[in-house]
């Protein structure tokens, strides 16, 4: 309608439900055309944030902007956003065509243009032949594609998606992820996406905001989030990792893995399983560990290692490597680049 994309901004938003603080001092700025994901465990306030943005809920304190406009006082129908819901929320009494036409009808678009735009939107999600069907004559993946078409048909500058893939099985989910990426590329819309699936967040987003109990813990690109988690929570939540604790009396020292950091505030380090290797290189830190268990995972093999003092580490190796997989009970020498040990201060 107006512009292709608009910035979105949360400023110090707080929302309480009785004793429960769903959002606390929540701030986030999304650039026009950016794809930002709210990632966090169940109950961390993701849906609350999205509901406040969509106008289904209100902030107790703080402000929300779409474009340059504070939208706190606007009802949902005045916010000009598109939304895709977890349970699809297709109107069961309308055909696929009428479902997709609904936002246009509500915006007073005339019939001829409506028909053209609906046809285009359905073609975009490859459902052109399904216009006359009822939603309950569609599969889950098809329904969610209809919902996608319906969300974008009126070309809202902002698109909201709340766990919109989690009702689908893995294969469909990956297919729809591709679809969403393609739509985002083609339309250039600002997208605020919500998920508790870190893999989905990393693969779809320009930036990810990791949330915990109503607060943003870290906002970064997927790569930065993965490589430089700012806290133990983020390190653990995004991807799989080994967290090695420093002994209580000696922060910064990790005798187990041959590491000593000058910074005495370091309480633990995060070491990704794929950063460990059985073929240490020059400059690597080295340590010995016993192989407790070996698990075959298809493209990779994962081994459970126990260090001298009993700490458990996971080692992940691609099967394309030159070494045969380790054997249970074997003692191996492990190396890693010192820069791959990410210090954690909490």
């Amino acid at each position: 309608m107006s512009e292709a994309s608009a910035p979105v901004r949360f400023e110090n938003v707080t929302r309480r439900f009785g004793q429960v603080v769903a959002l606390e001092d929540f701030s986030l700025a999304v650039a026009p055309g950016e794809f930002v994901t709210l990632l966090g465990p169940s109950g961390s306030g993701k849906t609350t944030a999205l509901n406040i943005l969509a106008g289904f809920d209100h902030a107790d304190a703080g402000a929300v902007f779409i474009g340059e406009r504070a939208v706190g006082g606007l009802p949902p129908e005045k916010r000009n956003v598109g939304m895709v819901f977890q349970n699809f929320a297709l109107f069961p009494h309308m055909s696929v065509f009428d479902n997709v036409a609904f936002p246009l009808r509500m915006r007073g678009v005339d019939k001829a243009r409506r028909a053209r735009r609906v046809t285009e939107a359905l073609a975009m999600v490859r459902l052109a032949d399904y216009a006359e069907r009822r939603p309950n004559a569609l599969s889950g993946g098809q329904r969610q594609r209809v919902a996608l078409a319906r969300a974008v048909v009126a070309e809202p500058p902002v698109l909201l998606m709340d766990e919109c893939l989690s009702a689908l099985d893995l294969k469909l989910r990956e297919e729809l992820q591709q679809e969403i990426r393609r739509l985002h590329r083609v339309l250039g819309t600002t997208v605020v996406f919500v998920t508790h699936d870190q893999g989905e967040a990393l693969s779809l987003s320009d930036r990810v905001a990791v949330m915990e109990s109503g607060r943003v813990r870290q906002v970064d690109t997927p790569g930065a989030l993965y490589d430089r988690p700012a806290s133990r929570f983020v390190a653990d939540f995004v991807g799989r990792t080994n967290i090695v604790e420093a002994p209580a009396g000696a922060p910064g020292t990790f005798a187990d893995i041959d590491l000593a950091l000058d910074d005495r505030r370091v309480r633990a380090v995060s070491l990704r399983p794929e950063k460990l290797r059985r073929t240490p290189r020059d400059g690597d830190r080295r340590f010995e560990a016993r192989v407790e268990d070996v698990t075959f995972l298809g493209a990779a093999v994962e081994s459970r290692l126990v260090t001298r003092s009993g700490a458990v580490l996971r080692l992940s190796e691609t099967r394309a490597g030159t070494l045969p997989p380790p054997e249970r009970g074997q003692t191996v020498e492990i190396g890693y680049a010192p820069g791959d040990a990410v210090p954690l201060f909490d």
């Binding site: 289904f56 009802p75 916010r79 109107f91 069961p92 609904f102 509500m106 599969s139 319906r150």
Partner: protein, 276 residues
């Protein structure tokens, strides 16, 4: 074991057989044999304008009462379904409380309310609006009012049940897509709640068709319904004619409901979306 899973239905089947199938068969027999096969009872009914008038009146009163209940009950259900879940049981309970009393008691209560010395007349005189008591009983208004009040809980509960099937997310989806509250209601909630509303209307219509206590106690002479005629004929042990009228009542009810389904069927949609 073809009958295995249906075994628990045997008591219900026996009950239906003894209390419904057998009496219904006897009734048909009473209406058609006197003692040989005869259409005399039906002939009597369909050739006298008095009887046809009563049939028509019964259909109209039932339809009006069902419509009144819809007009009052649908908004009530709408209100309850939009209350926080914790408050709803209390509200539904309050709706259902009147059903604890028998129809007879509630009809007498209406006599107390509408009688010459009743609450309404008392209030009117106290306010100085009337000098003398007005006659509020023994007319069609009283009959409609009492029947609608007695049957209203059925409508509220039926509409409510239909409305709880509607995913509130659908209305939100409509809102975020640009529909104001009224248009979201009109395009999404209303069509999906019609199934419950039509069911409620039909149930009340069926119940009204058989009413006879209310018109007998607080209706005028012209408010006689088919149920009253049947009671009268039974009292005179005119079994044949009573049975014939009962069959007419049944047929008229079924025919009208069929018509309603036919007309409304095009607008009714199940709120249940099949899950993937």
């Amino acid at each position: 074991m073809p009958f295995g899973p249906r075994l628990p239905l045997i008591p219900a089947l026996l009950l239906a057989l003894a209390m419904f199938a057998v009496p219904a068969a006897l009734m048909v027999q009473q209406a058609l044999f006197d003692p040989g096969l005869t259409a005399v009872h039906f002939e009597r009914f369909f050739t006298r304008s008095v009887y046809l008038g009563v049939l028509q009146k019964t259909l109209v009163v039932s339809a009006v009462v069902a419509s009144l209940c819809l007009l009052v009950g649908y908004p009530m259900a709408l209100y309850i379904v939009h209350q926080p879940p914790r408050r709803r049981p209390l509200l539904l309970f309050l709706v259902l409380v009147p059903m604890w009393m028998s129809i007879l008691v509630r009809t007498y209560a209406w006599m107390v309310v509408l009688g010459r010395e009743g609450i309404v007349n008392g209030a009117l005189q106290w306010l100085g609006l009337t000098a003398e008591p007005v006659t509020l009983l023994f007319n069609s208004y009283a009959v409609h009012l009492a029947m609608a009040q007695i049957l209203l809980p059925v409508m509220v509960v039926t509409c409510y049940a239909g409305m709880t099937e509607i995913d509130p997310g659908l209305v939100r989806a409509a809102r975020v897509m640009g529909a104001g509250p009224l248009r979201a209601f009109r395009h999404v909630f209303l069509p999906l709640s019609l199934e419950g509303a039509v069911t409620g209307w039909s149930v009340i219509f069926i119940l009204s068709m058989g009413f006879f206590i209310v018109p007998a106690l607080i209706g005028g002479r012209r408010d006689t319904l088919l149920g009253n005629l049947i009671v009268g004929q039974v009292a005179q042990t005119n079994w044949g004619f009573a049975a014939a009228m009962a069959i007419v009542l049944l047929a008229a009810t079924v025919a009208l409901l069929g018509l309603v389904r036919l007309v409304a069927g095009r607008f009714i949609h199940s709120p249940r979306e099949a899950r993937p």
